[in-house]
């Protein structure tokens, strides 16, 4: 049960980023799964601890490149989504061409676990849980502050927000690059626990999109929207564990 | 011909139309006037089938048409032209009109009728709809509605957004239709613009008929 709740937090983190990309970035980020994969592959190149920092930085930079491309080429939501899909496929194929092997296991790192309420929970899962908590705390503080008002404004109407002095483009850049960095970091954190292969991010992308879509049905403004995402993610995860 | 009985419409708790009853006879031109938000366009959309009334009934040629879909209403003989023109942008003028004629005729005859209407209205056949001016778009809307061979034309603010020259042009074409014996229901903000066309006025205010 604890593991499934933690997995729910992980999905919530990614789904929130998808939601932020959609509402502020104004597109459906289909490259998200590939950033997760990129993070996993980065951990093959160096020490685990270094890979966490490196994946965050690389994720941010590649995300920024994607933002610049969208800014330059895109005219509407479909254009931006297609560009993100192109980036996703490009990342996956570059990894496939570079690493050649279909599945890789990260060795040399001990997969430790702790016991919480008589249940074994992997340490890496706890790292993700911690990351999710930090993200939610940061998001809550932001949304409840004056910056949060600007964020809500930009979510509802970008053009009007711009007219009232909100730097919408800077917000977009931060959301797109920041969320890419988070996805990359997640991939890196969880790399010791998975078989790393270029297509590993697609299932996570699809689940995140579905959770984001389901939680949008319930609506909500500000932090309530993102808490709704968390609830849906946890429920999904728990139900999955119960059924399977 | 057309009989509207106690029609009402509510949007999100706001009463837009309340107890509207009116008649339009054959060969009659009725002007529906009123300020913004009085419910003129809503009434026309309800008659055309784009909206369902919350209460009341509508009869056309002694047949009830309340709640019928627009594609069925137009087959019965009521044609609607939009307030903001909605041309088929990627089609030419003649194709825009011919596709409406396909409702009753085969392709060959539909294009013949489209050609006749283009001549009548004064539109260039082969021009692509996306390249038309505002006045031409309004006329295309009317031409397309005509092509369905209607018994009753519903013209939703045919003069809105037009300059003086284009208003005169559209006005003259609508007058032509009146002389040809078409029954019409036309909405506008101001009485003056419709004075020469309509047989009588119905004034709406706050969703109710105050005059006519």
């Amino acid at each position: 049960m604890i593991s499934s709740i933690i997995y729910g937090f992980f999905l919530a983190l990614l789904s929130c980023c998808i939601t932020l990309n959609y509402r502020i970035g104004r597109f459906l980020n289909l490259s998200y799964g590939s950033f997760f994969t990129l993070g996993a592959y980065i951990s093959l190149l160096c020490k685990y601890e270094t890979s966490l920092i490196l994946s965050s930085v690389i994720g941010f930079l590649v995300g920024y490149l994607m933002y610049l491309t969208i800014l330059k080429f895109s005219e509407d939501i479909v254009d931006s989504t297609l560009i993100s899909l192109g980036f996703g496929i490009a990342i996956e194929e570059i990894l496939r061409i570079t690493f050649r092997a279909t599945h890789v296991l990260l060795t040399g790192i001990e997969v430790e676990y702790v016991e919480i309420l008589n249940e074994k929970v992997f340490v890496f899962d706890l790292y993700i849980f911690l990351l999710s908590l930090i993200f939610y705390i940061a998001l809550s503080i932001t949304l409840l502050s004056s910056s949060g008002l600007k964020l809500k404004f930009a979510e509802e109407d970008c053009e009007l927000a711009e007219m009232y002095g909100v730097d919408v483009e800077r917000l977009r850049m931060l959301v797109i690059s920041g969320s890419s960095s988070i996805a990359c970091l997640c991939g890196s954190i969880l790399s010791p626990m998975q078989a790393i292969h270029p297509a590993m991010g697609w299932s996570i992308l699809v689940i995140s999109i579905m959770i984001s879509a389901i939680s949008s049905v319930f609506g909500g403004i500000g932090i309530r929207r993102y808490l709704c995402v968390l609830i849906v993610s946890v429920v999904y995860s728990v139900v999955l564990e119960v059924i399977f | 011909m057309l009989s509207v009985k106690e029609v009402c419409k509510v949007y999100n708790g706001v009463v837009v139309l309340k107890g509207i009853s009116l008649r339009v006879e054959e060969r009659e031109v009725v002007g529906l006037v009123g300020p913004n938000g009085s419910g003129k366009s809503t009434l026309l959309r309800i008659i055309a089938g784009f909206e369902k009334p919350n209460c009341g009934r509508i009869f056309f040629m002694n047949r009830e048409i309340t709640g019928l879909k627009p594609e069925k209403v137009v087959k019965l003989g009521i044609s609607y032209s939009f307030q903001i023109p909605r041309p088929f942008k990627n089609l030419k003028v003649i194709e825009n009109i011919a596709v409406a004629s396909l409702l009753r005729f085969d392709k060959k005859r539909a294009f013949e009728i489209a050609r006749e209407i283009c001549e009548l209205i004064g539109l260039e056949e082969d021009k692509k709809a996306e390249n038309l001016s505002q006045g031409e778009l309004k006329l295309l809307e009317i031409a397309r509605a005509l092509a369905t061979k209607p018994k009753l034309l519903l013209l939703d603010e045919p003069f809105s957004g037009l300059d003086v020259k284009n208003t005169r042009w559209v006005l003259s074409e609508v007058l032509k239709l009146k002389r040809m014996g078409f029954s019409m229901m036309i909405t506008a903000h101001r009485v003056k613009i419709l004075e020469d066309i309509v047989d009588r006025f119905i004034e709406l205010r706050g969703g109710r008929i105050v005059k006519g």
Binding site: L28, L30, T69, F73, S74, E75, I77, V78, D79, T81, L82, I83, L85, G86, F87, G88, I89, A90, E92, E93, I94, R96, I97, W202, S203, L205, V206, I209, M210 | A48, F50, K69, P70, E71, V74, K75, S79, Y80, S81, F82, R86, P87, F88, K89, N90, L91, E95, N96, A98, V99, A100, L102, L103, D106, K107, A110, R144, A145, A147, T148
Partner: protein, 297 residues
């Protein structure tokens, strides 16, 4: 300036119907003259994919709905042919029902949802396992299908391609095509002139899914084997990429397919799946490419 001149030439070629039809005949029949096995093989595969692109383009061009899930009718038909051939007709019907359901959303969400469904189908196909004669078959390995000889596959593909090409061209010019074009531009205005939008959308989706299913059947018979690759994102994106490379005329469906198949075969000798990078580049450049193809002479 150079781009505009090139696109003008292309427009004038595209504008000439006879030349386009002649081009199709040359592309389809020229490989027979070579009597070269490899060329015939590539040509057959290209024609199979051309069918898929025509089916996609028919939905996109005639009804205005862009799908990223044409791998579903393609793959479903191939799988049904392998597992239970008598039920192969279910593929176009089920796909049509799926597309019609998703079309309740707007056109932008339709694009997103179809892509998500493609990924779902692809990931689920790895778990498609059945028992035959006490042995579990399918999964990642896929299923075997009775295959045709290359010459038979080639003839089958030629017949399907030419009949689909002629069919869509004739339909486009007919009154049904005109109504679909009106519906594509503005559904509400189409309803105002008596067009039953649901009926024509249904018709459009059925025709599109049927052609895609035929393409899937042809694919299965050509290779003699189907695997989860038939549902892959690559297959789903193929029509989109082909039309962005070669344009949105019907002949472009064929030309684009040939270009993509040839490029993938050429590069696969050096770097496997390198052509997918080309897909990525086309997707990234798609907004620019769309505006470029929209340039009028």
């Amino acid at each position: 300036m150079r781009f505009n001149r090139f696109s003008c030439i292309l427009c004038s070629v595209r504008g000439d119907l006879l030349i386009r039809d002649l081009l199709l005949v040359i592309i389809v029949f020229a490989p027979i003259l070579t009597q070269n096995y490899s060329i015939l093989w590539i040509s057959t595969l290209s024609m199979i994919y051309s069918l898929l692109v025509i089916s996609w383009l028919f939905m996109e061009r005639q009804s205005g709905w862009t799908s990223f899930a044409h791998s579903i009718p393609f793959g479903l038909a191939a799988y049904l042919l392998a597992i239970y051939p008598y039920a192969v007709f279910i593929a176009p019907l089920a796909s049509t029902a799926l597309f019609l359901t998703i079309s309740k959303l707007d056109r932008v969400k339709f694009v997103f949802v179809t892509f998500v469904l493609t990924v779902v189908f692809w990931l689920s196909s790895f778990y498609m396992v059945i028992e035959r004669n006490g042995i579990s078959i399918g999964g990642e390995e896929g299923f075997s299908v009775l295959s045709l000889y290359l010459s038979e596959s080639y003839i089958f593909a030629v017949l399907l391609l030419i009949s689909s090409y002629v069919f869509v061209r004739v339909l486009e010019k007919s009154s049904i095509g005109l109504k679909m074009a009106a519906m594509r531009d503005d559904e509400e205005a189409a309803r105002a002139i008596g067009i039953n939008v649901f009926k024509y959308r249904f018709m459009n989706f059925v025709i599109s899914c049927s052609i895609a299913s035929l393409s899937g059947i042809c694919y299965a018979l050509f290779f003699g084997h189907v695997s989860p690759d038939v549902f892959s994102i690559e297959v789903a994106l193929f029509p989109f990429i082909a039309t962005f490379i070669a344009g949105r005329a019907w002949i472009s469906a064929v030309v684009g397919s040939y270009i993509l198949v040839i490029v993938s075969r050429v590069f696969s000798g050096f770097v496997p799946d390198f052509h997918l990078l080309i897909y990525a580049i086309v997707l990234i450049a798609s907004p620019k490419l769309r505006r470029w193809w929209g340039v009028k002479c």
